[in-house]
């Protein structure tokens, strides 16, 4: 009984806790921060600057629907990876799209069905860039 009481919270919250990070690289390799920066800045590829601002003095229009990307500094590499792959796992109400998830979506344009917004390689590039913001 005592044991059950002790582990009960983990039965309920274990998933959320376990889901706060994806420690391992999706490709098994390290990404390239230069390429990652270009993806983040590109409005057709990363789309990040639609919502976020960040250290991109050359980009005139940046969004303000989301925190400045420099706030990523407080997150570990694994936490950042999870927030790109499927941010709803950190915050179910988030408006940030899941960049590496294809299921659970509605009426995706036919040419994009079954495709994630970014590839595994691109996710790793963006993660590699975001950790440089520390």
């Amino acid at each position: 009984m005592r044991f059950l009481l002790l582990i009960l919270p983990f039965l309920f919250f274990g998933k959320a806790l376990g889901d706060d990070a994806i420690p391992a690289s999706l490709t098994g390799a390290k990404g390239d921060p230069q390429r990652g920066r270009a993806i983040v800045a590109n409005r057709q590829v990363g789309l990040c600057l639609l919502c976020h601002s960040g250290p991109f003095p050359e980009e005139r229009f940046q969004g303000n629907l989301a925190p400045d990307l420099r706030s990523a500094a407080r997150l570990t590499e694994g936490e950042l990876r999870l927030r790109l792959v499927d941010p709803a796992r950190a915050n179910p109400q988030t408006i940030m799209p899941a960049y590496y998830r294809t299921e659970g979506l509605t009426r995706v344009a036919p040419s994009l069905r079954g495709k994630s917004i970014l590839t595994a390689e691109q996710i790793e590039d963006v993660v590699a860039y975001l950790v440089t913001l520390k």
């Binding site: 919502c51 969004g63 408006i95 979506l105 509605t106 995706v108 344009a109 917004i117």
Partner: protein
């Protein structure tokens, strides 16, 4: 299955603002002055079409003024919502015995703008009816590869910057509009399809029940706001 129903706040009635209020001074001036509003050419064409016999009659053979009409559309009849363009086409095929006009054709935009212009300044009269909930469901449902619902931008984040664009509240007060980006006139359905394409969703076809239900919900959401057709938008 998480958050399928979003508890996004509806905008309080007193805080609603037309897209007009988010525009720069030059664009507002263009809309306000009939002689610089590019929609003028469509209004002129609309008047010609209104008076011209097509099939067995002209619109003006049956109707006099259209004042107030656009403020009450879409209308619900027999469980289905019908928008102004569809009503115009219904009159054409049933009464004039003329061919229906294609969506986004110059003729249909011209006639719709000509009819709606006559309600400029009048408050939208839209009650809640049997199709409005279906429209709201579409407005609050996440969709597309970006998995965003209309409400997340237009109820929760209006006034903020999406890149270089200020997100408006999505009120249907000015349609058909002349949009500078299009260099053209366009219907409300064109605008709705644009936002769907923006979130990388498959847009519903022109004239589909879904788009008309959405129009109906947007009109209810904008009830009491003044029509400003033909509006200009960036």
């Amino acid at each position: 299955m998480l958050c399928m129903s979003l508890q996004a706040g509806e905008i309080p009635l007193g805080e609603r603002r037309s897209g007009y209020e988010f525009m720069g001074r030059d664009t507002r001036a263009m809309q306000d002055d009939d002689s610089t509003n590019p929609a003028l050419f469509w209004l002129m064409d609309g008047e010609t079409l209104w008076k011209r016999k097509d099939g067995v009659a002209a619109c003006s053979s049956c109707h006099e003024t259209m004042k107030g009409v656009a403020a009450r559309y879409p209308k619900v009849a027999g469980g289905r919502a019908v928008n102004l363009e569809q009503q115009i086409n219904a009159c054409r095929s049933e009464r004039q015995k003329a061919a229906p006009l294609a969506y986004e054709s110059r003729e249909l935009l011209a006639l719709t703008a000509y009819v709606a212009r006559q309600s400029r300044g009048m408050p939208i009269e839209a009650g809640w009816n049997e199709r409005t909930e279906a429209g709201r469901a579409l407005f609050t449902r996440r969709q597309g590869q970006l998995n965003l619902a209309c409400t997340q931008c237009h109820d929760d984040n209006w006034g903020k910057q999406l890149s270089g664009t200020t997100i408006p509240q999505a009120h249907p007060t000015g349609y058909p509009i002349y949009r500078l980006e299009w260099q053209d006139m366009g219907s409300l359905q064109r605008r709705l399809r644009n936002c769907m394409i923006g979130v990388r969703a498959e847009p519903y076809p022109y004239g589909s029940a879904e788009l008309v239900d959405l129009e109906l919900y947007l009109m209810w959401r904008a009830r009491g706001m003044k029509l400003e057709t033909p509006a200009v938008r960036p």
